[in-house]
């Protein structure tokens, strides 16, 4: 049973509440994909750093 304090006052969530669409079996795919993107970005940053250092020592 709901506490009396919850009755007769406006809600905070707002209606209607829409269900989040279920996407089966995606958690691992998304995690791997996002990490792979991060890794590639890191590789590009390393490449840029290497090129800068090469230029500096030329």
């Amino acid at each position: 049973m709901l506490a009396r304090g919850r009755v007769g006052r406006p809600g905070v969530i707002g209606a209607p509440v829409a269900r989040t669409a279920a996407v089966a079996g995606t958690a691992a795919v998304v995690t791997r994909g996002v990490r792979r993107r991060g890794d590639r970005r890191e590789d590009r940053r390393d490449d840029r750093r290497d090129r800068r250092e090469e230029r500096r020592f030329r």
Binding site: L2, G11, V12, I13, P16, G33, R37
Partner: protein
């Protein structure tokens, strides 16, 4: 709550998790993970409610104190801090989205970790323009597009 506390209030989020009635287990692992987040200071639990939707579509709400310790486990310790933000109107709105014959837990929490950053932004003269959550479908689409590009580039 004084003015300083209000300045330090982090963004408040909610989630609803639904279980078929015969598979509900609110104790154990879920409680322990949530409790760990609270102990680390990442979140503050502001409200916790349980809903039951009968096969005929009627919805009933339950407070956490209506369960015994063995059912709630570590969640019991959070009960004293609940701010009871959800109203009967919210229960009706959430209940309408639930599958008949299911039970659900509704959790409202403050992202405590974000509060100091938000305060720093305000003190620096910045103001929030928008915020939101990127849908998982959009992430999947971005990753798929990325992979298609990589494959074409080979």
């Amino acid at each position: 709550m004084n003015e300083e506390d209000l300045d330090e209030l982090g963004p408040v989020d909610y989630l609803v998790v639904e279980f078929p009635a015969d598979k509900a287990n609110f104790s154990g692992e879920m409680a322990s993970e949530l409790s760990a987040l609270v102990k680390r200071g990442a979140v503050r639990v502001l409200d916790l409610l349980f809903l039951k939707k009968d096969p005929d579509g009627s919805v009933e709400g339950f407070e956490s104190h209506e369960f015994d310790d063995s059912e709630l486990g570590e969640l019991r310790a959070l009960e004293s801090e609940l701010a009871m933000l959800l109203a009967e109107e919210d229960v009706e709105a959430i209940g309408a989205a639930l599958e008949p014959g299911s039970v659900a837990a509704v959790l409202v929490w403050e992202n405590v970790w974000a509060a100091p950053f938000a305060s720093a932004v305000r003190r620096s003269g910045g103001q929030l323009v928008t915020s939101g959550r990127i849908p998982i479908q959009a992430l999947v689409a971005a990753i798929e597009a990325d992979e298609a590009e990589t494959t074409e580039g080979v």
